[in-house]
């Protein structure tokens, strides 16, 4: 039997390499976000607390604009729900995976950003590593990368200058790899192709700022229409 300390240490050691690309991506984006708040005239406590308590990248950038505009809490709430509606899909996918995981579940749900969900859903966690602690550390490390990046950006602001043009591609590269991992694992590619195709179509029709909600609706409608054939093909197994 392993002691509890050994179990935790092992899970951390296993989780850390998975989060390295996110370290690069979140530090870059987090710093950018902190700098953006700094040059918009906000104290560093703003990006610090917002990155800690909201922990959802794109909406935090949007919130800067909200704070600079007129006071409209209802619009703030609706806008947030719309931009973050894709989290609903993550929750639905994790319903069964997170049964019986205990107190960690609350934090896993709170910290379920795109990147944490993608890793926790696809990672091949070795049998001798505790799944709950593994996912806890993936989420915690990502959270801390974002938090430290945003806070440092907020403190040092425009003093930081670097030629990191193109570093943000690290996030695209990670999503492409995760898409491939899923692609190689699945028997039927209908859902993957629908995801790419319908999203791309919606970007063209609705534009990059408004495509998320229509794309999600189109995906759910098509998957519902195709339920019978997909279940027969065993795509849902």
């Amino acid at each position: 039997m392993q002691s509890k300390g050994q179990v935790i240490k092992k899970a951390l050691r296993c989780a850390f390499p998975y989060t390295l690309p996110i370290f690069a991506g979140f530090w870059f984006l987090g710093l950018t976000y902190g700098i953006y708040m700094n040059v918009s005239g906000f104290h560093f406590l703003y990006p610090m607390l917002m990155s800690l308590l909201i922990f959802a990248g794109s909406i935090e950038f949007v919130t800067v604009n909200m704070l600079l505009g007129a006071f409209d809490p209802v619009q703030a709430l609706l806008m947030t729900i719309m931009i973050n509606a894709r989290h609903l899909f993550y929750g639905i996918s994790m319903l069964d995976k997170w049964k019986g995981i205990g107190w960690k579940k609350f934090y896993l749900i709170f910290g379920m950003c795109d990147e944490s969900f993608s890793i926790n859903y696809t990672a091949k966690i070795p049998e001798d590593v505790d799944k709950g602690w593994f996912m806890f550390f993936v989420t915690l490390l990502n959270h801390m990368y974002w938090f430290t990046g945003a806070t440092l950006g907020g403190i040092f602001g425009s003093l930081i200058s670097f030629n990191t043009e193109g570093l943000d591609f690290v996030m695209t590269a990670m999503f492409v790899v995760i898409f491939l991992e899923q692609w190689m694992k699945e028997k039927d590619h209908t859902s993957a192709l629908l995801g790419i195709g319908l999203s791309a179509l919606c970007v063209v029709v609705f534009g990059p700022e408004n495509f998320l909600v229509p794309a999600m609706a189109a995906i759910v409608v098509m998957l519902t229409v195709l339920r019978k054939p997909l279940e027969r093909k065993g795509a849902a197994v």
């Binding site: 998975y18 894709r86 590619h189 859902s191």
Partner: protein
Amino acid sequence: MTLTQQIVTICMVILGTALTRFLPFLIFPAGKPTPKYIRYLGKVLPAAVFGLLVVYSLRNLNVFTGTHGLPELVAVSVVVGLHLWKKQMLLSIAGGTICYMLLVQYIF
């Protein structure tokens, strides 16, 4: 905006974000069996979601202006090629990103 209004605005964003994350777990609690339709969605959605995320991260790409999406096309091909070849997540991501940075900094 006053400080109070700022705090209320930020709290709305925190509330909205938490709502999108917690809602499925509140509607379908662990103690009860999840409806079959939702379980079906839970199994087929991830593949579509990863496709959506790829498009999402490239949403501002315009193939008709600027570099016509060429650096992105090359770099994504490098990621796919590396990953099919070596199946090393970190290598594929680092290789593609370095390739993209070199392309946008020195060539395009």
